[in-house]
Amino acid sequence: MPIPLPEALTEFVEGGMSILVGTRDAALRPEASRGVGASVSPDRSRLTVYLNVAVADRTLANIDENGEIAVTFSRVVDHRTFQVKGKVLGVRRSGKKDRGIQEQWLAAFVEQLYLAGLPRSISRRLRFWPSVAVEFEIHDVFAQTPGPGAGRKLEVAG
């Protein structure tokens, strides 16, 4: 059953977080990759995460095979983290509007990494284009900030 993203997390998802994307193949072998930007649908029931096509082959093959996806959003400066799990609805090539979202994401992410001590000259080289947009519906949201509460399912109200 799809659920909406808690409203408080919308800004978080769109705010230059470190984004990790997990998928798996038919043999239940996992794949890890980085997302390069994300956005939330107006009704908060769907998320879009962007992938750098140069390093997305396995992830896209997995999505094509079974559509299972887990995406973790983490704020670099304080490790506040949560994970969203769901089912992919569709994959498309990113357009001009998507590129704008991704550019904003990279600018904010570079600043986050800078605060954590990574020079901007390095983090700005993170390739985000050309990209694909992966849209998925949300089935579960988990608190993932490191600690004993990590992995707890968040209660989602309406």
């Binding site: 990790l20 994307v21 997990g22 998928t23 798996r24 239940l28 072998r29 996992p30 794949e31 890890a32 990759s33 980085r34 750098n52 140069a54 390093v55 079974n66 299972e68 996806i69 887990a70 995406v71 973790t72 983490s74 400066v77 304080d78 490790h79 506040r80 983290t81 994970q83 799990k85 954590a116 001590g117 990574l118 000259s121 390095i122 983090s123 080289r125 993170l126 390739r127 988990f142 608190a143 993932q144 900030t145 490191p146 600690g147 004993p148 509460g149 990590a150 992995g151």
Partner: protein, 463 residues
Amino acid sequence: MSSFDELPPRCFQGVIPAAIATVSRDGTPNITYLSQLFRLENGRAALSCQFFNKTKQNVFENPYATVELWDPVSFDAYRLELRYLHSETAGPLFDQMAMRIQAIASHTGMKGVFRLISADVYEVLACEKREGFLEPAGELGPPEPLDDQLPRTELRGLQLVTQRTCRAQTLDDLLTTLLESLKDAFGFRHSMVLMPDESGERLFTVASRGYGDEGVGAEIAIGDGLLGTVASRKQLLCISSIEGELRYGRAVRASVQATRTRRELTPEIPLPGLPDAQSQLAIPLVAGERLVGVLAVESRSALEFDEWHEAFLQIVGNQAAVAIENVLLRERSEGDDAPESHAVPIPEDDAPPSRIPRRFRFFRNDDCVFVDDEYLIRNVPGRILWKLLREHLETGRTEFSNRELRLDAALGLPAIRDNLESRLVLLRKRLEQKCPELRLFSTARGHFHFEARCPLRLEEAGG
């Protein structure tokens, strides 16, 4: 497979947390951050397990994991395919990982809450670089190459450190020389040596370099924080990206507080040293089985100390421990003879004595000495100072011996293996900083000169 062994060591220092993806038996993927990935021999890797989490549950059900690892200098990404083998809850690997976690935990006031449950060992099935992860360096140029001249330079440095420290006559000389040579030979500009106090439960800073005046005399309990942990475990600890790891520790602390776990959290211990240190290396100085002290080096760069430095500084640490033991033995054995003449001439002081009196107050209850309402020193060195001040004022004496201090039961020096020399070094440095009119210096091994170049006012408070 060989490429895993060839990844730069800095990729395993946790500067940028790695990502790990796993899959449950029913096919749901999970992806999260790893606090630390260790590279082992024979194509294996180990992950630290601090909490029984989804990753752990998944690998019990389905042993495959994929890790994405980032090089913190070039930002290149590497993809590792892993297969879970087993968990270790004792042994050298577990101890090494546990020590690191304990240091971070006690540093963030979470001793006992945040601890290693197991070291989880994985086989590395594949390792590849993610081509196309980054844009070409372009006009920014490639990242600075690592200095491949390091080993040769450092061997020369070791020679310098050894030569200089061997010549030192007193503990004071030795410590100053050691820290100076570390700077000259290796560019370590922020360093300190801590030694155990009389109780053996605390360390105090006896020498420091690169921290201004404030370093000497600072204390830390053995077992607490990074330096205290190194002292209690007698194992070297190198932490890169201190901020990153402490941030991780604090995130756990915040989440522990949020979930109101069973125990109260102790207050966070402030990190001694640079407020913006990015990496710290602490080396236990051990002679035989005995902890002589801790040598700590800090840097504002997250990647200052790579694996080579660790192995190497361990050698420096061994040298330093032996040198300290030797100089102490010499100071003690020769201190019993009365000096025929001053082996070390009393330094000339051209400045005329001050006519402004300085007021010393000894607070017996708190065991500490204040000078003109400013804290000066406490415990054993405080009592020594009080004894010297009183005798100097009452009898005009200026020559003292370590031996008579040892025999004075009121000072409370331990009967066996006392640390009088390190306490005198601390006292001399505190006087130099807070009250330069009092001059204390060694005249021969085991003998020292003490004089006041100002009128003295002494008061005792608190019974």
